[in-house]
């Protein structure tokens, strides 16, 4: 049965940047749907298949040449007649393992031994690769069908040509690890031997392509280490910060600490006279934090000389109407607004009625701060403007957006922009915004040399596009029997300063559906906006990362008030096992939710008593199409130091594509979530961010790392991404456990605000 309140809009802005949402593939106008494919011989012979994927679930075969041979470096699959198999990795690698697991999908269906595959990072080419981005945990769901088809189509063609050569039927032929095998007499032909002949075959009908059953998988689901590991551990130049081009100069770009203020004057002559400095100039920019803010560029012969020169730069900044913006001011204002009616609200049932007839009413005010991404590799970008063309080496999660950005900013034709993909030292959503690329290109546009723009850590922290903070005034009602009858949230969030009408900033949206408590009959979800100048952007599980903490903490508060076991109480709020909207996999499937919660309780010994002085906390959240229930067990010392003794994670993402890479994402999400809980906050004072480096924006270190146990529930659902969904439940699991251990309810993040340390 469909319940409109809980699914009324599958919260497009909460989980996913809207341009990443599957059904709203708006970045590209997919190329005309050419349903043909031509074979192009690989240089030196062989078979190459190039597919283009639009937003559909099927590959769009694409003509890569006139068929008269030639090399196609961007094809997903290249099989040389020497037997070498090369598979293209299409999406940016930020540490989510995509450079390994997407090629694994192709290799599985192609039926080659993983050890025989060479993975190559592809070019950026929307015509051939469709959407190339790293965000919203979308690489898996978007590419699952097309990449399987890419592999299976190639395999079908290899089988067809072998059958022809043997004069047997295709049904008589099997494949295994790069060979076609004649099941009658056991003879074998390698893919390499078949490659040249296969290249001349017509494309088989898509409908005739048979995909493997899961039970036949030999690569997917296995523990496969990352393809770049060797290069990483030997210190190869993989990252943006490592790029070196002939004659390259180094640049810093200095912006006003108060976001967006203009350059009035600067001591440019003095700066230009400093050692190693080549030039210095100011840029006006277009005033957008996602593009080019006003600032001063300093070009030098080395990174260090650029950094040193920056210290000598004195800028007189223009005035800003936002020089009073402060986190303290927002907090005071939010506390006041929370008591007033919300600017917008959605209702289900009759919350006021529930309140009138309640036997108990619980109220709680939750606060979470702004956060920085703090990517380990500070922002940077290398650009070279040569003969009217801009070539860019960008550590970006969103490479296909750069050309349009530059065409607006610098009036360069989109077709004259070439973006090279690099391995990226951490994404977490920061690099979905391409401000660093706009800066590097605007500087490169002015000189005739390649430029590497390097951000200092301080610049990185002071000029992020932050995870937005927020405030929730929660009210819950119970009846005599301890049943949860009514729930109200007045969410105080932010709208970008001049947005009319107000609309939530990136990561600052939520709806009734975000609460994921569909069995509560009377619900009111209201929103009020505060105007904001500080830039905000996507983060890890933006929206969900903070919302889950509020809602799953409040569930625990209500369970305690009702005198009920948290586990039973949480399950009760999910109601019957069902899909809230049949067939819409972005809507909550309570059956999958219940299953992960039950297994988490079992694995964490939920029903067993816990030793004195310890606490245990449970939490659940569904985000990015993944279902996660998590339990934290911890000890709190007399000085309120929290030692997390154990974290149990249970996930359902359909199936795990790479056991190693997938579990890496879970481990990373847990650590990340504990980091945010422990002591991270970005505070704005007088319009500027106060934190500058890891001493005042701490990241979790080795000694605080808890043991993490991961369990999976495999379901028939097609696999979904893991970059984000393990994060959201963790924070409430920990704060609920702190309550269990101490009786102290934490309603302000980070917990250092409440006198706790981790």
């Amino acid at each position: 049965m469909k319940n409109d309140f809980d699914v009324f809009d599958p919260i497009p802005d909460v989980d996913l940047p809207s341009f990443l949402i599957e059904k709203e593939d708006r970045t590209f106008d997919p190329m005309p749907r050419r349903r043909f494919l031509k074979m192009a011989g690989v240089a030196g012979g062989g078979l190459a298949l190039a597919f283009a994927f639009g937003n559909g679930e099927r590959p769009e075969p694409l003509a890569v040449s006139d068929g008269s041979g030639g090399f196609s470096p961007n094809a997903y699959i290249k099989i040389g007649n020497d037997g070498n198999v090369t598979i293209a990795a299409k999406n940016p690698e930020v540490g989510q393992g995509v450079k390994t697991f997407l090629p694994m999908i192709v290799a599985e269906e192609l039926d080659v031994a993983w050890g025989s595959v060479t993975v190559e990072q592809s070019e950026i080419d929307g015509d051939r690769f469709g959407r190339q981005s790293a965000g919203g945990s979308q690489s898996t769901p978007r590419n699952w069908d097309p990449l399987r088809m890419a592999g299976a189509t190639a395999r079908a063609m290899l089988v067809a040509i072998a059958a022809k050569q043997w004069g047997v039927s295709k049904k008589q032929c099997n494949t295994s690890e790069g060979f076609v095998i004649n099941s009658q007499d056991g003879s074998r032909l390698s893919y390499g031997e078949l490659a040249d002949a296969a290249a001349k075959l017509p494309l088989p009908d898509e409908k005739s392509i048979q995909l493997k059953e899961r039970s036949e998988y030999k690569i997917l689901g296995k523990w496969i280490p990352g393809v770049d590991n060797h290069a990483i551990v030997t210190g190869q130049p993989l990252f943006g910060y490592d790029q070196v081009l002939p004659g390259m100069v180094y640049a810093v770009y200095v912006k006003c600490p108060i976001f967006g203020a203009k350059v009035k004057s600067a001591n440019l002559e003095k700066v230009k006279a400093l050692p190693g400095v080549i030039d210095a100039f100011s840029l006006e920019g277009d005033g957008s934090a996602e593009s080019l803010m006003p600032g001063v560029a300093i070009l030098a012969e080395s990174t260090y000389e650029a950094f040193q020169a920056e210290k000598q730069l004195v800028v007189e900044w223009g005035s800003s109407e936002f020089d009073q913006e402060s986190w303290g001011g927002f907090s005071t204002e939010a506390a006041k607004l929370a008591k007033e009616p919300a600017a917008q609200s959605d209702e289900k049932g009759d919350f006021s009625g529930a309140q009138e007839s309640a036997s108990k009413t619980i109220e709680a005010f939750y606060t979470y701060p702004f956060l920085s991404h703090a990517n380990m590799e500070p922002q940077n970008c290398t650009a070279w403007f040569k003969e009217g063309k801009m070539e860019v080496w960008a550590p970006t999660q969103n490479p296909q957006r750069i050309a349009a950005l530059l065409s607006g900013l610098l009036k360069i034709e989109e077709s004259s922009v070439v973006v090279n993909q690099l391995r990226i030292g951490g994404g977490f959503g920061r690099r979905l915004m391409n401000d660093f690329a706009a800066e590097a290109c605007a500087i490169a546009h002015r000189i005739d040399k390649p430029v590497k723009l390097v951000w200092t850590r301080e610049a990185d922290m002071a000029h992020d596009l932050y995870r937005v903070g927020g405030f929730h005034q929660m009210t819950g009602t119970l009846d005599d029997s301890g049943k949860w009858t009514g729930l109200k949230d007045h969410f105080i969030t932010f709208s970008q300063k001049d947005q009319r009408p107000a609309k939530p900033v990136k990561g600052g949206n939520a709806s009734g559906a975000s609460m994921q408590l569909p069995a509560i009959p009377n619900v009111s979800f209201g929103k009020t906006f505060l105007p904001l100048n500080t830039p905000t952007g996507w983060w890890r599980a933006p929206g969900s990362c903070s919302l889950a903490w509020v809602f799953q903490s409040f569930v625990h508060e209500m369970a305690v008030a009702a005198g009920r076991d948290h586990f039973d109480f949480l399950l009760e709020q999910l109601g019957e096992p069902r899909w809230l909207e049949e067939g819409n996999r972005r809507s909550l499937n309570t059956a999958r939710a219940i299953d992960v919660i039950k297994l988490a309780a079992e694995k964490s010994d939920w029903s067993k008593p816990i030793p004195e002085g310890r606490g245990r906390g449970l939490s659940f959240y569904f985000s990015h199409l993944g279902y996660f229930a998590e339990v934290a067990e911890l000890t709190v010392s007399e000085t309120n130091h929290v030692t997390i003794d154990r974290v149990v994670v249970v996930g359902d993402v359909g199936m795990l594509l790479n056991k190693s890479g997938g579990e890496n994402q879970v481990e990373g999400s847990v650590v990340d979530a504990i980091s945010t809980l422990a002591g991270q906050e970005i505070t704005v004072e007088n319009g500027a961010v106060q934190q500058s480096n890891f001493h005042d924006y701490p990241l979790l270190r080795m000694a605080s790392q808890p043991p993490i146990e991961i369990h999976w529930i495999e379901t028939d659902n097609s696999p979904t991404g893991l970059g984000e969904p393990a994060f959201p439940p963790l924070t409430a699991a920990v704060t609920n456990a702190i309550f269990d251990a101490t009786g102290k309810r934490i309603r302000t993040m980070p917990i250092s605000k409440e006198g706790f340390t981790i």
Partner: protein, 158 residues
């Protein structure tokens, strides 16, 4: 501005025209082309820039090049005996699939290598102490710990 001679990864390297207070990190990266050593904070807070100077793990972002001039410097590029024979920790890192983004891992490996040289069989407290200066934003600590233990169990780095 001076000319400096450095001992890097077993080779004699010269740097011309250098301000002797320049941190070793930037000399390695921009002058000697050894970009495996990473910049993360520039303040000795994150460990991304860890190298060995005179056999000890040091934060190269906070070490003036002049003070490293007479000592043997090893960077991540020189940690392995050869291309074919990696340092046991590098093998363990690959096997345990430690890296996520990978950016911090050069520093992590250099800290871990210095630890094992000093304490071939470290316990968890030793590991916490030796590795606490190295941040991993991606959260690979559980695997780093496992990888260090696995090398120690197999007989260390001798």
């Amino acid at each position: 501005m001076t000319r400096l001679s450095l001992q890097v990864n077993g080779e004699n390297r010269f740097v011309e025209n250098i301000d002797p207070s320049t941190p070793l990190l930037w000399v390695l990266r921009d002058h000697l082309g050894l970009v495996g050593t990473k910049y993360g904070c520039g303040k000795g807070l994150c460990g991304s820039c860890t190298v060995h100077v005179g056999g000890k793990a040091m934060r190269s972002c906070s070490l003036p090049v002049s003070s490293a001039a007479d000592q043997e410097i090893t960077t991540i590029e020189g940690l392995a005996k050869s291309n074919e024979e990696l340092h046991p920790l590098q093998d363990a890192w690959i096997e345990q699939d430690v890296p996520q983004c990978g950016y911090c891992q050069a520093g992590q490996l250099m800290s871990a290598a210095a630890l094992l040289k000093e304490k071939p069989k470290p316990n968890n407290t030793d590991i916490d102490a030796a590795m606490s200066g190295n941040i991993c934003r991606c959260g690979t600590y559980q695997r780093i710990r496992k990888a260090i233990h696995s090398v120690a169990e197999k007989g260390g780095v001798a």
